[in-house]
């Protein structure tokens, strides 16, 4: 066992994939050495595998994703870096109208096994460099969406994304990227669509992922002190969604709270809450709660950010209120 950052874990996965399969290629702005990526996630890889396979590109998101799609259609397994998820709207046409649909539009004759890497945030860099836009892509059939929260998950899920035949959006939470976590010395892929129960509990289920998990875990600790036992599920993948694990956990606790860094209105929590209500309506002790960012562009000032995203205290308070309301 070693303790490494998520950034290094992703680097290990990319390194391993490049070494195992010469169809794996990387492209993106600044990814080649000596820069090695703006946050060094790809450091050393162009030196080791050459700039034919690890390609720095112009600041041209449409060309980056297009080049990834085209090479994937011709048999490659490209990993394209788009830096911040905020830049994906620049190339939304390539992602939404092409990567996600070419397989369907060709009746299965062409396929687009690309992985798109992009960072998601919790307000680190204001309105255009720290959003969490996963809901946009959840409503586009054909895209798989992965958000790891630990080093081990990042490495294992990245290996699965690269080998997956479908386009995968691999979102790297800035809040987690430089956290250290344990990894073993035998890197194995983690199947997409499998949630991870981080903590078992009986009274309420938290469904969360990525950068929102820190506050969620903090809330679970606060609630435990009040005698409320919370189960924490890290969904890890939003598409495919691990419906079985959700139903098993909420079926047990009969209370569910979705916590995410994306905005609350029409956020991922809306879909997850609707799914739970449809499946478990009669069993629930309270409506499913959705906790997310305020419905505004992400502000800059620390004073505005203080209550912008769910915190351990705000999550715990919402759960306590729900439990007390149910007790009447």
């Amino acid at each position: 066992m070693r303790r490494i950052t998520m950034a290094d874990a992703i680097n290990e996965a990319l390194d391993l994939a490049l070494s195992r399969d010469d169809k794996v290629i990387l492209m993106g702005e600044d990814i080649a050495d000596p820069t090695g990526g703006i946050l060094k996630v790809t450091k050393g890889l162009s030196t080791k595998y050459g700039t034919d396979r690890v390609r720095a590109t112009p600041i041209a998101e449409q060309a980056i994703i297009g080049a990834a799609i085209g090479s994937a259609m011709a048999g490659y397994k490209p990993v394209a870096e788009i830096m911040f998820v905020d830049f994906l709207p620049v190339c939304l046409d390539q992602v939404v109208n092409h990567a996600a649909k070419l397989r369907y539009m060709s009746g299965g004759l062409t396929t687009v096994p690309i992985t798109i890497r992009a960072m998601v945030g919790n307000g680190e860099n204001a309105a255009q460099h720290s959003q969490s836009l996963e809901a946009i892509f959840m409503s586009v059939p054909g895209m798989k969406i992965v958000v790891p929260s630990t080093s081990a998950d990042a490495r294992g899920l990245m290996l699965s994304c690269i080998d997956d035949e479908d386009p995968c959006l691999f979102l790297e939470p800035m809040a987690c990227l430089f956290q250290r976590g344990e990894v073993d010395d035998d890197p194995q892929p983690i199947p997409l669509g499998t949630a991870n129960v981080l903590r078992e509990g009986n009274d309420v289920t938290f469904l969360s992922w990525g950068g929102a998990l820190a506050a969620t875990n903090e809330a679970a600790d606060l609630l435990a002190a009040d005698g409320i036992s919370a189960e924490v599920v890290d969904l890890r993948c939003l598409v495919p969604l691990d419906r079985q694990t959700i139903l098993r956990s909420v079926g047990k606790t009969r209370r569910a709270v979705v916590v995410h860094s994306a905005t609350r209105f029409a956020g991922p929590g809306a879909e997850i809450a609707a799914f739970i209500h449809e499946e478990l309506f009669g069993d629930l002790q309270a409506p499913v709660l959705r906790l997310g960012a305020l419905d505004a562009p992400i502000p800059y000032s620390p004073s505005l950010l203080a209550d912008f995203f769910p915190t351990g205290a705000s999550i715990a308070a919402a759960v306590t209120k729900s439990v007390e309301a149910g007790a009447h």
């Binding site: 060309a63 990834a68 397989r103 997956d164 598409v239 495919p240």
Partner: protein
């Protein structure tokens, strides 16, 4: 200009041109009578371009085209029955009826995608060309698009990256003078679209898109450059748009005289005459080719109409390769 047509190539190009023209005329008759019903973007006036592309490329070479695609698809060698079946949404279509007239694909014959998004195909064509370089396969990719696509950013990002990486790709602009319903001079100050190529340090040439010999020379040179590792080229093929933006669209922005002149400038009849004048074909061979085209098209229409519809169970297949979701 460079390569010169030999007799057998010249004849193959004619066969494709007349097949495109006959097929499209038949589609338009069918749409007009109600026998057929689908959205259609006419290619009349562009037959020479697509037929010449088909002759210059090998079957393993690839194209990425756009929704005004009927000529390109037939030119690349996709069988007419599967094309028409796709257009009417049948299970025997190129995409099992799941793509429709704007989204034909036949990767075995090098038709990699048909996009409904103006300019959306060029960046993907760059990726196909990158794969060719990495494979060392020598495949050439043609990204073909209308003049309207020269105003959208994706095309420019694609040209810049292709030139930077010296990829084996030809950017083929089929300039019919209109971006949807807007004439070229109203949407760009650039009179000669091939001039855009200089900005990316790649050769750019403008040719008469109704002249097969001119097209053959220009496209052979561009494809030859690509295949020999010299990088991308831009070819602007100028032609006339004879029909409206889509089937049924009126053209209140063009005078009767303009429309008559555009119709008179169609390329198939003059090429037919050129083959006679050059001694490449006689009337008997040409009449036979014309009749074969009619027969092929009629068979294809019957095949499309008689084919079974795509079963409802197909609605949820091919969304993902593996799922789950």
């Amino acid at each position: 200009m460079g390569a010169v047509l030999d007799e057998s190539t010249a004849k193959r190009i004619y066969e494709k041109m007349v097949l495109i023209q006959t097929g499209e005329d038949r589609i338009i008759r069918g749409l007009g009578s109600g026998e057929l019903a689908f959205g259609f973007y006419p290619t009349r006036g562009q037959e020479a371009i697509a037929a010449t592309v088909g002759a210059v490329l090998d079957e393993s070479d690839q194209i990425a085209t756009t929704y005004r695609c009927f000529h390109d698809v037939i030119g690349k060698g996709v069988p007419m029955p599967a094309v028409l079946a796709e257009m009417v949404g049948k299970s025997t279509g190129t995409s099992k009826g799941k793509g429709g007239p704007m989204h034909l694909a036949d990767p075995r014959r090098g038709l990699m995608l048909t996009t409904g998004i103006v300019g959306g195909g060029a960046p993907i064509a760059v990726g196909l060309a990158l794969a060719s370089v990495l494979d060392g396969a020598g495949r050439v990719v043609v990204a073909t698009f209308g003049d309207g696509a020269t105003s959208i950013g994706a095309t420019h990002e694609a040209m810049n990256l292709a030139a930077l990486w010296k990829l084996p790709i030809v950017f083929l602009c089929q300039n019919n003078g209109f971006g949807e319903h807007t004439p070229l001079h109203e949407y760009t100050p650039t009179a000669r679209l091939s001039a855009r190529a200089a900005g990316y340090d790649m050769p750019g040439v403008t040719v008469d898109g109704r002249s097969v010999p001119d097209l053959y020379g220009a496209l052979s040179e561009a494809v030859g450059r690509a295949r020999s590792g010299q990088g991308p080229s831009f070819v602007e093929a100028r032609t006339e748009r004879i029909l409206g933006h889509y089937f049924g669209a009126d053209q209140p922005y063009r005078s009767e005289e303009e429309l008559a002149a555009a119709g008179a400038a169609e390329p198939v009849a003059p090429y037919r005459q050129w083959l006679l004048d050059e001694g490449f074909a006689d009337e008997a061979w040409l009449s036979d080719a014309d009749q074969k085209a009619v027969d092929l098209v009629e068979e294809a229409v019957a095949f499309a109409k008689d084919s079974p519809p795509t079963p409802p169970s197909e609605a949820l297949t091919d969304v993902f390769a593996t799922i789950g979701a």
